[in-house]
Amino acid sequence: MSEYILEMQNIVKEFPGVRALDNVNFKVRKGEIHALVGENGAGKSTLMKILSGVYPYGTYEGKILINGKEQRFSNTKDSENAGVGIVYQELTLVKQMNICENIYLGNEFQKFGVINWNKAMSETKKLLKEVGLTESPATKIINLGIGKQQLVEIAKALSKNIKILILDEPTAALNEDDTENLLKIIRKLKEDGISCIYISHKLKEVKAIADTITILRDGKTIATYTNDEKVTQDKIITGMVGRQINQLFPKEEHTPGDVMLEVKDWTVYNPELPDRKIIDNVSFKARKGEILGVAGLMGSGRTELMMSLFGAFGIKKSGKVYIDGEEVKIKEPREAIEKGLCYLSEDRKKSGLVLMMDVKENITLASLKKISGLMGINENEEIKISNHYVDALKIKTPSIEQKTRNLSGGNQQKVVIAKWLMAEPKVLILDEPTRGIDVGAKYEIYNIMNELADRGVCIIMISSELPEVLGMSDRILVMHEGKITAELDYKEATQEKVMYFATGSGDLELASK
C-alpha cells in the first residue's frame, strides 16, 4: 500500500485558449492536512473540480490514484463513492430546510421513495457530534450562523463516508472564534484518519494548521513543502508570485492632477449578515489623470468597495465620498453616473451587457438622454456615435446592429467600455477589465486606459493579475479582509510586496507603525 491516499499525476486541463493546469502533480498522505495555496486563477479550483468529478474523466489528461488505485470519475457521485468530499466556499445548503434534510439531501435513507426520518435523525445527531455541534437535527439552516452552517456542510460531507475532505476557502466568511473552532474540528477529523485538502488565502491559518503545503502558480506545481519553521510566509509568497514578468505593458508616466475622488472612513456592512463589516473604515484618494491599481485576493472586498461607492452594493454604509472636491451621497448607480462616477463590472455577461441587444443599443444605454429629443431617440445620432466608438476602440463587429451575444469576449468588453466612455466619466472604475480576453485585446484596452488617463480621467483598476497591476498602475492599493493594508508607488511595488499585504501578512507590521 502506498503512503499516499491521493495521488494526482501529470494533470493537464485545457479550456479554449487557456492551459489552466499544466502537468500538475499533487499528493496527499493519509491523515494529513495538506494546504493548497496560490493566487486567484492559479488553478486550485480547477484541480479540485477534477478531483471531485465536476470535470469528468476524459476532459483532462493525467491520472488520479486513490489508495494506489486509478479512478475515473464521470460525475460527483463517483468521487463521493471513492471517498472524496468537497465543501465549497459558497455554501450549498437549502436555507429553508433543516439540518437533517440538508445532510441527506439526494442521499436519503429510503425505501420505495419513502424516507426513514427516524434513522436520518439519529445518524445526523452522530454526525453533528463529530463536528462539535449541539443543535437539534431539526433546526432550520436559516437559524444558524455562518460558522455553524460551515460545520453542517462538513457533517454533510462526512455522512458520505469520505476519506478526503476538500475545504475551499472555509474561513473566508468566518470571524476569529468561528475560524478557531473550525481549525479545531479539522484537527480532530485528522485524528480520526480523514485527510484534508485545505485551500486558503490566509497564510497565517495555513501555517498554523497544515502539515504540508503545495504551491500552485499559473497552473503549475511550484513546490511542496513540509510545514516547518524553515517555511516562512515570505517563502510561500515568493513561490506564489515568483514569475518572471515577460509580458510587456504599455506603461506610461502620467502626471496626476488634483484629487478627483476622495473616500473617508468608508464602512459597508454585509447585507446578509448586518453585524459583519465587508469594508472596514477605508480611506483613499484618487487623482485626475492617474491609474490607481487595486490588488487583493478573493474575498478582500475590492469589488464590494467599488460597487458600494457606485451605489450598487450595500445597504448600511457610513463614511464620506467627495468627487472633484464636492461631497456626494450616492444611493443608486444613476446618481453616481450623474456625478461622473462610472463602474465597469467584473462580469460583463452577467451585469455589463444586455446580450440580446445590439452593439449600438448597448453603447448608448447609459447615455440615452444625450441622443434623445422630443421625437424620441435620434437614431441617426445613435448610429453616428456608435460608429465613432466602434472605430476609436477598434471593436470588431460586422455591424453596429450585431447582437452583442455574438461578439468575442474582448469585443464585448470594448462595447461596455464604450458605454462608459459615452457617459463621460470623471472617475472610471474598471473591475477586472481584461479578464478572459485575448492578449491582443488586452493590449488595446491598456492603450485605451492610458489615453483616458492622459485626457484627465481618474482611472481605478481592480485586477487579480499582479503583473497587470504592477505594469499599468501609477499607485497601488492592496486590500485584505475589507481593509486597505498598503498603498504602494509603482516604483517600489513588487509582486512579493503586494502579495505580502494581500495575504494579511502585514497586519502586525502596520499595527506597529
Binding site: 450598487a312 450623474e338 463602474y343 455589463g352 444586455v354 444605454l365 440615452l368 458605454k419
Partner: protein, 401 residues
C-alpha cells in the same frame, strides 16, 4: 446594413439580413396569411369584406390590451388582472352613465382615470414593494372581480346607443353613402387611406434624406421602391377590405392610433429602450443608471389605462356591462403577445407582433366558427397553436445559438 459603407451592399444581402433579424415577425405574418388562405378555401364566407371587418372588430380590444401587456412581459413581469380590469372599468363606465347620468365623454374620462389608479396601485406594489407581479396582479384580479360584483350587484347594466357606437359602429361617410352591395367604397376610409399612405411616404423619404445627410448607407433605389410598394400594398389591402364593407370601425381606428403610439414608444423612446434593457438584463440595466422602479410603475400605469380602454370598447361592443365581463380575457391577451413573439423571459417582443398574434387567434376562432366547429374543438386548437408557436420560437432560438 446600417454600418459603415462597404460598397458591396447587394440587394440580396440586405434582404437576407433583414429576414434574419426579423424572422419571428415574418414567420407569424406568413402563418397568419396561411391560416387565412386555408379558411378561404374551406369557407366561401371567410374572405368577404363583411366577415373580415367583423373579424377586425372582434379583435380590436384584445389587440389594444396586448399592446400594454407586451411592455409588461418585455420588462420581465406579467399582468393577470387584465380581464378583471376590463370587467371593472366596463362596469364603471356603464354605471356612470346609467345611474349617475353622466355624458359619454366625462364617463370615459373618469374611467380612464380609474384605469390609471389601478395601474398606480399595482405598479406601486411591484416596483416599490418588490412583490412579484404574478402575485400582485393575481391579487388584483380577485380584488377587481370583487369590486365588479359589488358595484353591479350581479346585474347587467345596459349602455346607451351613443356610447355603444365606440364598439359597434363605423366612422361616418363624408360625401357618398356607401353601399357594400353596389361596390361603392366608403369614402372617408379611402381618404384616410390616402392620408396614411402620404404620411408613410413622407416618413420614408425624410428618413432617407436624413441618412444621406449623415452620410450613412441607404437602401439601393430598386429595393427601396420594392419595400415601400409592399408596405403600401399591405396598408391598401387592409383599408380596402373595410372600405368595401361599412368603413373603418371606431375601435379599429383606436387600435391603429394606440398601435402606432406604442410602436413609437417601444422603438423610438428612451423609456421603451430602457424597458427592453430591464427585461434583457436587469443587473446591467441597473448598473447603467436606469431607474427601474419608476419605469416599472409606468409600465403598470400604461397597462391599467389600456385595460380601461379595453373595458370601454368591450362594453360598448356588447352593449352592456355584466358581472362576468372580461373573465379569462387576460389569457387571450397574453397568448396574443406571446404568439406574436414576445419572450416570456423578457427583453424581446414587438407591438406589431402582438397585434398579429391577436389576429391569428381571432382568425382561428372566426374561421372555425364559420366551419361550425364546436367550442370544445376551438379551445383545443387555440391551445395547441399557442403551444406550437412558443415551441417553434424556442427551438429556432436554440438553433441560432
Amino acid at each position: 446594413m446600417i454600418s459603415k459603407a462597404k460598397g458591396n451592399n447587394k440587394a440580396i444581402d440586405i434582404i437576407k439580413f433583414s429576414l434574419r433579424n426579423n424572422i419571428r415577425q415574418y414567420t407569424m405574418f406568413i402563418a397568419l396569411i396561411g391560416i387565412m388562405l386555408i379558411f378561404s378555401v374551406l369557407s366561401d364566407v371567410f374572405l368577404t369584406p363583411r366577415n373580415l371587418s367583423i373579424l377586425f372588430l372582434q379583435t380590436a380590444h384584445i389587440a389594444i390590451l396586448a399592446c400594454g401587456v407586451v411592455l409588461v412581459i418585455v420588462a420581465g413581469h406579467i399582468d393577470l388582472s387584465i380581464g378583471a380590469v376590463v370587467g371593472l372599468t366596463g362596469a364603471i363606465v356603464a354605471i356612470l352613465q346609467a345611474k349617475f347620468g353622466l355624458g359619454v365623454v366625462p364617463a370615459i374620462i373618469i374611467t380612464l382615470g380609474v384605469g390609471a389608479l389601478i395601474g398606480i396601485w399595482q405598479g406601486y406594489w411591484v416596483a416599490y414593494r418588490d412583490v412579484p407581479a404574478f402575485i400582485v396582479t393575481l391579487a388584483g384580479m380577485m380584488i377587481f372581480n370583487g369590486l365588479l360584483l359589488g358595484i353591479t350587484n350581479g346585474e347587467t347594466i345596459p349602455t346607451n346607443n351613443t356610447f355603444n357606437k365606440i364598439g359597434q359602429d363605423y366612422i361616418p361617410t363624408l360625401f357618398l353613402k356607401n353601399s357594400p352591395r353596389d361596390m361603392i367604397p366608403h369614402d372617408t376610409t379611402v381618404i384616410i387611406l390616402i392620408i396614411v399612405i402620404i404620411g408613410y411616404l413622407w416618413m420614408e423619404f425624410r428618413k432617407r434624406k436624413e441618412r444621406i445627410r449623415y452620410g450613412f448607407d441607404i437602401l439601393p433605389k430598386s429595393l427601396f421602391i420594392v419595400k415601400i410598394s409592399l408596405v403600401i400594398l399591405l396598408i391598401t389591402t387592409v383599408f380596402l377590405i373595410m372600405a368595401f364593407y361599412l368603413g373603418i370601425p371606431y375601435s379599429i381606428l383606436l387600435l391603429m392610433l394606440i398601435g402606432s403610439l406604442y410602436t413609437f414608444l417601444t422603438t423610438k423612446t428612451t423609456f421603451g429602450r430602457q424597458v427592453y434593457a430591464i427585461g434583457g438584463n436587469r443587473e446591467a440595466a441597473k448598473l447603467s443608471g436606469i431607474n427601474i422602479r419608476k419605469r416599472t410603475l409606468w409600465i403598470f400605469i400604461s397597462s391599467g389605462i389600456l385595460g380601461a380602454i379595453g373595458g370601454i370598447i368591450y362594453t360598448a361592443r356588447v352593449g352592456s356591462a355584466a358581472a362576468s365581463a372580461g373573465q379569462g380575457m387576460e389569457l387571450d391577451v397574453i397568448a396574443a403577445a406571446i404568439i406574436g413573439g414576445t419572450s416570456t423571459l423578457g427583453g424581446e417582443g414587438t407591438i406589431v407582433g402582438a397585434i398579429i398574434g391577436a389576429l391569428v387567434m381571432a382568425t382561428l376562432n372566426n374561421g372555425m366558427l364559420l366551419l361550425d366547429v364546436g367550442t370544445t374543438q376551438r379551445l383545443i386548437v387555440r391551445g395547441l397553436v399557442l403551444l406550437l408557436a412558443v415551441w417553434v420560437d424556442i427551438s429556432s432560438r436554440k438553433n441560432k445559438s
